[in-house]
Each structure stands twice: as C-alpha cells, then as structure tokens.
Amino acid sequence: MTTPEILLRGSGLTRRWGGVLAVDNVSISLRRGAVHAVIGTNGAGKSTLINLLSGEIEPSAGRVELNGVDVTRWRQPRRARAGLGRSYQRTTLFPGLTVLENCRLAAQALQPRPWLWWQDARRCEESLQAARYALLRSGLDGQDQQIAGELSHGQQRQLEIALCLATRPDVLLLDEPLAGMGAEETRRMLDLLNELKADHAILLVEHDMDAVFRIADEITVMVNGTVIASDTPQAIRSHAAVREAYLGED
C-alpha cells in the first residue's frame, strides 16, 4: 500500500462551552480509503469534534486542513463545496419531500446560477442525475418516490448518508449512523460504508463496538474532550487505559 493521501486533518482542535472543555487539543487525520472511528462515552465531545471539522462551529484553538488547504476560517457551506460531507446524530431530513426530492435539493447546491427563476428545479438534469447516483449508492433507489418522513428509521438513516453523497464529497463525517438500527439494517449500513470507503475518507462516530471493530482501520478514543488513545483496532483492544476508561465494563 502506498502512503494514502490525507484528505482532512484537524490539529490541536479545542472548543470551550463556557467552563466546559468539550474538545481539548484533539488532532486527527482522515485518509482516503480508510474508516477512522471515534469512540467515547456520552458527552465525550465526539459530535463537537465533527462540528469543528465540518465548520458548523468555530474552534477556540486549533486548525483544520482540507486537501492540504487551511480551511479553519471557512464557514461550513464553503467547506462543503470543497468536498466535506457530514451527517447528523439526530436525523435531519426534509420530511415533507420525497426521497428523490431530498437528494435533488442536496445535489442542486452544486449547480451554478440558482437565481435563474424561470427554470423549473425539478427539470434540472444534472441535479437529478447526482441525486439518482446518491440513491443508488446508498441503496435507496427503490424508494425514490416515498415521502422521507414516512420511511422507516433505518431508511431515514440511509437517506442521511444519501444526502451527503449527493453533494459528491471526498470526506464523510458520520455521526452515529447506526444509532437505533436493527441487526439487518446495521449489516446493510456497514456494507455501504465498506463500499464508500474505497473512494472516500470516512470519520465514523459510533457507540456500537462490534460494528466499530468490524469496520474501522483506525480508532480514536475520547474521554472528557481529550484523546486517550489513537491506534489500530487490535492495539486499542489491548490498550490498558482504554480498557479501564471505556471498555472496562466488558
């Protein structure tokens, strides 16, 4: 294996909420072709880390590089245009729209000249194509005319991923995509992530340890905002501090 390209790098990221250090001097790199899992107890700062990397919130200190470019001062939409896609821990879709419309709205963001007011959005071929592609990859192509709000929980989580894919990102930051899923849905989602891994850099925040150890190439463990270990799954499994602080109950 040649040295895989680092697509996203966060260094020394810190974020305070009042007195709480939600994320404390965290550094992390995401490579194309790899799943980097971030695990940690509730409130460890995992979602905050994703928010810092995606630009949803500003860091108190630290820096974010996307494809080697310093994007720390870029706001979220600009980072998204540069290839950063993210999903949310709590499903945030457009529940009144069909599955296809959800994805078309996402894909439409990349199309130039949105102010051409006489053009029908539904006839924008480029966005429809990108939307269909996203649905195909996320395995929702059979559901494209269903109303998003009426999908099963598992399918809504899939649509979360499809919305990311519709903007054709290189980096995917996924916040607990498996939360609340049954065994079968989990298996399908893991297959999907395995497929996506080939051409994306993926950060996976997840509580399901079986899933994490099955899919991750690298695992970062957070406790109270700090990283206590970052290594291969094998090394993490036998890491004393991790076992004590986090896997201890097993």
Binding site: E56, P77, A109, P114, W118, R122
Partner: protein, 327 residues
C-alpha cells in the same frame, strides 16, 4: 416547492379574469376600492415570499411599502410629471436598498428577535417620515403630477390605474409562482424547513435569505409606489406598524405559505374592514369597526388555522366527519 393542483390554478385564473372584466363594468368607487385591494395583494405577496417562503416573519414590511410611496412623491419634480419609466425603478430601488441594509443587519437573528429588529428598522423609517422636513410630517405630502409614459399611459384616470395595478399584480403573482418552483425557490423552502442541513449541503443560506428579503422589499416598494400614485398623497401612516401588522394579518388570514393566500387575504381583510366600517349596516357602531374586524379575524383564524385557502379542505373534512389533526 409546493405543487399546485389544477383547481388551484383554475381558481387563480378565474380571479384574474374576473378582475379584468370588472375594469369594464366597475364604477369609480368600485374601481378605487378594488385597486386598493390589489395593491395590498401585491404588498401581501411580497411578505408571503419571505414569511411563507422562508419562514422569516418580518414585522416591519410597511417600511418598504412606505419608502416606495414616498420615493414616488419626493422624486417627482415640482413643476411637472415624472416619467414612469424612471420614477418606478427609482422607487422600487429605494425600497430594495433599505431592505438590503435591514436584511444584512437582521438576518443573522431568528424568531422573535428577527421580528423585533425588523420592527425597529421600520420605526426608524417611520420617524424619518414623521419628524423630519423631508417627510412632510403628520400631514404628509401631495403628489401634484402623476407619472406618465407620454400620452400612452396616463395614470390620472381610475380605470388606467386599475388596469396598471392589475397587470402588475398578475405579473408579480406569476413571477413568484415561477420563482417558487425554481432552484432558488426550492432552496428557500429548504432553508425554512432545515437551515442547518442546507448549510451542511453547501448552501450559503445567508445569501439566499438576503436576496429573498431584498426582493421582497422591492415588491413591497412597488406596491407602495402604486398606492402613492393612486391616492396622489402619502403620509407617515404608510410606514406605521399598524400597516406592517395589517399585511401580516392578510397573509395569515389568507393562508401562510400560499400565493393565493396573500391574494385572498388582501380581499378578505379590506372587504371585512369596509363591511364593519359601513354606517348603513352598523349605524353608530361603525366607528368601532376595529372591534368587529378583530373579532372576525379571530373567528376565521380559529376555525381555519391554515387560512382561507384551507376552506375547501376544511369543508371536505366536515362532510367526512374526520377530526382535525392538531399540529
């Protein structure tokens, strides 16, 4: 983003055909009243664009209406009529510019804060009109010469103003209907539902909101311009929060989130107002018309939470006997 059904389109077309027909049969009182209603309908459409379209409740929209009206008067030379071709764009631009400034400063706030900030900026405009020599004070200013395009369009006759207003109303309605189904309109609707997700999907939502707000101000200014030309007179009431509130009531009464709602709401509001003001019907009580109007609005909004556009669905529901799902 909302799909329009065939009956809805038929309804809108029938309304516009009826309005066109009325130009040939209406007397001067009727023409004047319907012109006023159509101007309010344009005004209500401007608010619907951001309140219904993006979910931004502006409580200061009278400012843009008033600026359009005052610009029409103040930019008309003392000694003759202004050219409509110049005066109209100038008035619309003046309103749009103020909306651009207000939007730039207010669109980072949300909910009740947005309401307060838009109100505060409208009050500033109101005081400029009310308390400075520029605005002519409480008495207002007269428009001595109505704008014209040569001999072709002379806005002195009621029927000409009626026709011109109708054409503008139809054009604005059609423009907004197309805008709603365009990518821009879909993005606005997306922002209304889930701005956070829109930003994650790479939409610079602030730019979209500012564009919509400015456009809304421009359309409100257009309505104000027509109002000044129709009445030949402006006063600070045109920028008052009463009018900002009234136009919001029109939009809600008609049905927030529907272009037809703005149209229906403007008609319902003004006709109810005329009804309760009528001394022939209410005699001495007519001077308490605010009370009647207020009660009528409360009853309507209680019975029809989705506005008057929801009436057919509500009737169907009653006939079928299904309970309303309270959302």
């Amino acid at each position: 983003m909302r799909a329009t059904s065939v009956p809805q389109t038929v309804f809108t077309v029938v309304v516009f055909v009826a309005l066109a027909g009325y130009a040939f049969v209406g007397g001067s009182f009727g023409l004047d009243l319907i012109t006023k209603i159509m101007i309010y309908a344009i005004f209500a459409l401007s608010l619907e664009l951001i309140a219904g379209g993006v979910g931004l409740v502006s409580f200061g929209h009278a400012a843009y209406f008033g600026i359009g009206a005052y610009a029409a008067v103040l930019l008309t030379p003392k000694d003759g009529a202004a050219s409509l071709v110049l005066l109209l764009p100038a008035a619309v631009c003046a309103a749009a510019l103020y909306a651009l400034a207000v939007g730039a400063l207010s669109l980072r706030t949300r909910g009740v804060y947005f309401i307060m900030v838009t109100l505060a900026f409208a009050q500033m405009a109101y005081y400029v009109a009310h308390d400075t020599p520029l605005g002519g004070g409480t008495d207002g200013i007269y428009l001595t010469q109505k704008p014209a395009i040569g001999e072709a369009l002379n806005l002195n006759q009621p029927v000409m103003i009626y026709g011109f207003t109708l054409v503008v109303l139809a054009a604005v309605f059609l423009f907004l209907a197309l805008l709603n189904r365009s990518r821009f309109g879909h993005a606005l609707a997306g922002i209304r539902v889930n701005e956070q997700r829109m930003r994650a999907m790479s939409y610079s939502t602030f730019g979209y909101k500012l564009a919509a707000f400015t456009l809304s101000g421009a359309i409100a200014g257009f309505a104000g311009f027509l109002f000044a030309v129709k009445d030949g007179f402006v006063n600070p009431e045109l920028m008052s929060w009463h009018l900002s509130g009234a136009v919001l009531v029109m939009v809600i009464l008609g049905g927030l989130g529907h272009l037809r709602g703005a149209l229906i709401g403007a008609f319902a509001f003004v006709l109810l107002q005329e009804f309760f003001k009528s001394e022939a019907i209410f005699g001495a009580l007519a001077k308490h018309w605010h009370l009647g109007l207020g009660l009528a609005i409360i009853v309507s909004v209680t019975l029809l939470p989705n506005g008057l556009v929801g009436l057919p669905a509500e009737i169907k529901r009653h006939l079928a006997g299904t309970p309303r799902d309270n959302t």
